[in-house]
């Protein structure tokens, strides 16, 4: 029993948890993903010590990418202090011993769920997305054998029909997040469930890597790659957000969370990107309800 007990201590696990053979397999998939932007590379995802659907794909990609010199940031819903972000950050502190940060500008590897940071990313950064359903056509055609053919033949008519039916029924494209994009004029890709507000940011200087653990897919977008949100000439794509400024930092151009503050349904709007908001407040920006530079105006 002593051997088994030892096997469960942190020191017994490899750098960044995964064994080297698993990392090699993931690394090869990442390189092919970069070489074929937007194409979903199958990979033999491993069981991780957190549940499928909770970021196992992103965690495996980060584990394969991290070096001891990296400084890592983990966000969920744009926030560093959401429980799952805290849990994943702790996992890498324990298993890879890397430094972590909440500052977007200081991070070299950022793992995210559902948001792209507001601060423009640079060439020295890698953004790793957690992806639940990597196949943009999945809800139109549940069969992998069929969707694979559709990607091979570049047959994306079904997607346009769906978007057009939305317009016929609602007068708008009724997709607010996980809004499909076309990468470098070839593959239709799921940007992960980011709000469509974030779509235009995907043409960026940083490397974007996507990991879907349960669905066993990895894909990538190299820097400066064309990423176009699908639309129609008469119904152009519009990134949208709440029509307010942040009540804490006053930002006009950041994605906002709507927070219900009292029983009467009173509400406030605050930046979903907590680092962006904090940095602005530290810099003296004040919103309708905020105080400058204070730790959470709670």
């Amino acid at each position: 029993m002593t051997d088994k007990n030892q096997a469960m201590t942190d020191t017994h696990y490899n750098f960044a948890y995964l064994d080297e053979q698993t990392k090699r397999m993931i690394r090869r998939a990442l390189l092919k993903g970069l070489a074929i932007p937007g194409y979903q590379v199958p990979f033999a995802s491993r069981e991780m010590p957190m549940p499928y659907g909770w970021g196992t794909g992103g965690v495996q990609v980060s584990a394969a990418v991290l070096t001891p010199e990296d400084r890592m940031k983990v966000i969920d819903q744009g926030a560093d202090d959401t429980t799952n972000a805290v849990s994943i950050r702790k996992f890498f502190e324990r298993t890879a011993g890397v430094d972590t940060t909440e500052r977007t500008a200081e991070a070299t590897v950022i793992q995210t769920r559902h948001r792209i940071p507001e601060t423009e990313l640079t060439e020295d950064q890698i953004l790793v997305y957690q992806v639940p359903i990597p196949e943009p056509l999945r809800f139109l055609e549940p069969r992998e054998t069929e969707t694979r053919k559709m990607h091979a033949l570049e047959e994306y008519g079904l997607m346009h029909v769906k978007l057009y039916e939305d317009i016929a029924r609602h007068g708008n494209i009724a997709t607010a997040y996980a809004y499909p994009v076309k990468v470098e004029g070839r593959y239709v890709m799921d940007p992960s469930p980011i709000p469509k507000f974030d779509n235009p940011k995907m043409e960026m200087a940083a490397i974007q890597l996507f990991g879907a653990g349960r669905e066993q897919r990895i894909y990538a977008v190299p820097p400066y790659t064309r990423v176009v949100s699908l639309d129609f000439e008469d119904y152009p794509f519009e990134p949208s957000k709440a029509d307010h400024a942040c009540d804490l930092c006053g930002a006009q151009n950041s994605y906002l969370d709507e927070v219900i503050v009292d029983d009467a349904g009173g509400r406030m709007f605050v930046c979903s990107d907590t680092d962006f908001c904090t940095t602005r407040r530290d810099g003296g920006h004040v919103g309708r309800l905020g105080a400058p530079g204070t730790e959470d105006a709670a």
Partner: protein, 362 residues
């Protein structure tokens, strides 16, 4: 004034501490030991080993203890542990024909060489709560018989000899490994069987049951069900021969299914196959039925559109670790996506109301 809906590190630590306390339960009650679970909850241990894909009764018992008896959680613990283990080698295929059977029955013959051996089964127990078990200290003993030295012949071999059942040719090709390569469709039979043997018992049971109720009915009989131990051997290149590294308990089920024949083939029985770690016979029989249903194409049958015939449907949804993880992830915050939908629906409603108002005004 800013309502902090976001948890933090301390919230997580506190939740873990509370969980540990709840797991232990009342300190007035003696703590369960891992050997107690291994010995007295052996069928739970078997299920955890089967769906966790790791034969280690001690670790499975530990996982059950840690998971507070939640077997899917225990299976998850075992899977996550298993994936970190280095792969030192590959065993030679186990020979279930050499099994030392504790239980062995055939529904297709009244008697068979080797005999019908009921073994430790619930089958003919009356399901009456046994209140004597509530009192402690009982050590029941069963009558003993000398072990049969001979290997038990397989029932389907008798049918095979007469050409009455479709043969399953032996093959030396290395099967794909579900735990090392991504699932790929169409999946061959080896891959399907791997997926089924670690699939959720309830899911595989439900799929099998659906075939019995007419969704791709395949008229199964339990040709043979056997439970017992088999030796596991590994080739050691330095020695040039295989050495025994231990033994494992397996449940094997071969179903015998009707086949009407085709233009080119005379009528013949066909089979479905189930093989599961430990004593797990409900799962093994279910697996055999679903395996048989998934073979419609190679046996030249019609696809009647039944769920159990749809390999992509069955295999994509059989794994309870994938399923429960994704199901439960909707507990995670989704407020960013919800916010984007909120704005969209407000906008669509506003546009619709404006249009109505304009109509009314005209």
């Amino acid at each position: 004034m800013y309502v902090a809906v976001k948890g933090g590190e301390r919230a997580i630590d506190n939740a873990h501490a509370w969980l540990a306390e709840e797991r232990r339960g009342s300190p007035d009650i003696a703590e369960l030991t891992v050997p107690q679970i291994r010995e007295q909850l052996a069928l739970a241990v078997n299920r955890v080993m089967a769906e966790g894909s790791l034969f280690d009764p001690d670790l499975a018992a530990l996982a059950i203890k840690q998971a507070r008896g939640d077997l899917i959680e225990a299976i998850f613990l075992i899977r996550a542990y298993r994936t970190t283990l280095p792969r030192l080698g590959v065993s030679t295929p186990v020979d279930t024909g050499e099994m030392a059977c504790d239980r062995r029955i055939s529904a297709t013959f009244k008697d068979v060489p080797g005999g019908q051996v009921l073994g430790p089964t619930f089958d003919y127990t009356h399901r009456l709560l046994d209140f004597k078990l509530a009192a402690e200290g009982e050590t029941p003993t069963a009558p003993q018989a000398p072990a049969q030295g001979e290997p038990t012949p397989r029932v389907t071999d008798y049918l095979n000899r007469d050409g009455l059942i479709q043969p399953e040719p032996a093959s030396d090709t290395t099967p794909p490994d579900l735990t090392r390569e991504p699932m790929e469709f169409p999946a061959n039979r080896a891959l399907r069987l791997q997926s089924l043997t670690r699939g959720d018992e309830g899911f595989v049971l439900g799929m099998a049951y659906s075939t019995q109720r007419g969704y791709a009915r395949n008229h199964p009989f339990v040709g043979e069900l056997r439970i017992g131990t088999v030796p596991v051997e590994m080739d050691v290149p330095e020695l040039g021969f295989a050495v025994g590294i231990g033994e494992i308990t397996l449940t094997e089920c071969e179903s015998v299914n009707q086949f009407t024949g085709s233009k080119t083939e005379p009528p013949q029985f066909t089979r479905g196959y189930g093989l599961v770690f430990g004593q797990s016979e409900r799962k093994a029989i279910s697996m055999a039925l679903v395996d048989r249903a998934l073979r419609w194409k190679e046996l030249g049958e019609d696809n009647v559109g039944a769920p159990a015939q749809d390999a992509e449907f069955v295999l994509s949804h059989a794994d309870n670790i994938q399923a429960s993880g994704f199901l439960e992830h909707i507990k995670l915050p989704h407020y960013v996506d919800f916010q984007s939908e909120l704005e969209l629906i407000r906008r669509i409603r506003a546009e619709a109301q404006a249009a109505q108002a304009q109509e009314a005004a005209e």
